[in-house]
């Protein structure tokens, strides 16, 4: 049995404290211990980005992040992407453009794009491509996702 540790961190604005195995991944901590199942297990090896959450504002692959390393960090998951539980502009745009098909990649993409747009509300196409570069979508071919992100990044301009 791996040794257990006490982990304290903030999740979607709420302080939590749990005793967990020292080698637990952040994704398992979020999904199994906190029961926040919006962040997805895609590949579990860092390939696909379905597990992307924000750690102190920066997108991070939760499947290959050690929960123990996040002591004291502020984590945001798809469940906390907006304060009141409504949809984030990027979620609304994805919905309008049908940028989600099976939807498995969507939480990770929303988190990566949220971080991008919070750092720079009007990112260039190359900044959008770079920020999407860790997220694999097997359904959409990205066209509709890019249209949605561009619409939020540059309202009014053709996407």
């Amino acid at each position: 049995m791996p040794t257990e540790i006490t982990l304290r961190l903030q999740i979607n604005g709420e302080q939590v404290r749990r005793i967990i195995p020292a080698n637990r991944s952040l994704l398992d901590f979020i999904r199994e211990d906190l029961r926040l199942t919006g962040s997805k297990h895609g590949c579990d090896v860092g390939d696909c980005g379905a597990c992307t959450v924000l750690v102190d504002g920066a997108p991070q692959l939760a499947c290959i992040t050690l929960a123990a390393e996040c002591e004291g960090a502020a984590i945001r998951t798809i469940e906390g992407v907006t304060d009141g539980g409504g949809l984030h502009p990027i979620q609304e745009a994805l919905h309008r453009h049908v940028g989600a098909q099976c939807g498995y990649c969507t939480p990770g993409i929303v988190m990566a794009m949220t971080s991008l747009l919070e750092a720079d509300p009007h990112p260039s196409d190359s900044a959008i491509n770079e920020a999407l570069g860790s997220n694999i979508c097997r359904c959409t071919g990205y066209t509709k996702i890019l249209a949605a992100v561009r619409e939020v990044a540059r309202p009014g301009s053709p996407s």
Binding site: G46, T52, Q60, C63, I64, T65, L66, E69, S134
Partner: protein, 312 residues
């Protein structure tokens, strides 16, 4: 158990598996193919960042791949290293992955990472890839294991003559010596890497890093090539090249470099030089197709490094 040592010497003395960015290790822990206590380098002071060192530049082992890609002194003095760092894996992996971890990461062979089988490298009796699926395996069959060396940084750092600073060792170890001849079945070294040193270079360095890859991002290269050069008055005065993804250890390409060094840059000479990179290839039946990918990848890298405006 997990410990967070605060200095390199404390880290070297501590027990447990070294953890840096965790981008390779966490997957292996999760699958149960790697087990044990952890010593996490997160809080170690003085192990991050690029600064002056006895040989030229000193890159702390915990420097992230993303930091290396944009560091102004690396971009100026070792452009191939910066390009390789900026071109590997995905933005999020580059933000988490570290220089020490990149060099020491374990092979990506699917059999190695499958908890249900035990191949030679994990203590079993046979290389399962050799007899089974080896489509992406080595084409220079140097040892019992045919998994290509996974480190892009090692390939690029070879062209800069990098040296490894190990905890507790007095002398720096040349990277090629640290990498060995490809026959070892242990991944990484036994000792903690504290830093990587890059010898000073003359002004006017040019470099290129090119990977042949099945999709634009988030994929391992089939072949990857780094070239470092310096051209003065149209003459190639310095050139080194190295290739990864094709052997259990990244391999220098002295034949390619020798064919071009000391001569005026001649676009027509680049393809014949690139063709020399396949010399000695002894692929497996399933990996033979990769040999055909080598000359074009090397040529692309040579063109980007040596021709004005990059690839023709």
């Amino acid at each position: 158990m997990i410990v967070f040592p605060r200095s390199a010497s404390e880290a070297a003395a501590a027990a447990g598996i070294v953890r840096a960015g965790g981008t390779d290790l966490q997957e292996r822990l999760h699958k149960g193919i790697t087990k044990g206590d952890l010593r996490d380098l997160r809080d170690v002071v003085g192990m991050s960042g690029v600064g002056p060192g006895p040989a030229g530049l000193r890159v702390g082992a915990r420097t992230t791949v993303a930091q290396l890609a944009v560091d102004p002194s690396i971009v100026r003095d070792h452009p191939a290293v910066a390009l390789a760092a900026g071109g590997l894996a995905t933005p999020q992996i580059r933000a988490m992955g570290t220089v020490g971890g990149n060099l020491s990461q374990h092979v990506r062979c699917a059999y190695y990472r499958d908890p249900h089988v035990t191949c030679l490298r994990r203590g079993g009796s046979a290389c399962l890839s050799r007899a089974g699926d080896h489509m992406f395996a080595s084409v220079f069959d140097l040892g019992p294991c045919v998994a290509p060396h996974p480190s892009t940084l090692a390939t690029a750092l070879l062209t800069s003559g990098a040296l490894i600073e190990l905890a507790g060792a007095d002398a720096l170890v040349p990277l090629d010596q640290w990498l060995g001849d490809g026959t070892s079945l242990t991944s990484g070294g036994d000792d903690l890497i504290v830093a990587v040193h890059l010898p000073s270079t003359s002004p006017g360095q040019v470099g290129a890093y090119v990977r042949t890859i099945a999709r634009a991002r988030a994929e391992w290269p089939v072949v990857e090539v780094a070239v470092r050069a310096r051209v003065v008055d149209g003459v190639v005065v310095e050139i080194e090249a190295a290739m990864g993804g094709v052997a259990p250890v990244p391999i220098p390409l002295p034949g390619v470099a020798d064919a071009l060094r000391g001569r005026p840059v001649d676009p027509a000479a680049l393809a014949p030089a690139a063709g020399l990179a396949t010399a000695g290839a002894n692929p497996l039946p399933g990996s033979a197709w990769k040999v055909g990918m080598i000359p074009g990848t090397v040529l692309d890298a040579l063109e980007r490094a040596l021709l004005p405006g990059g690839a023709a």
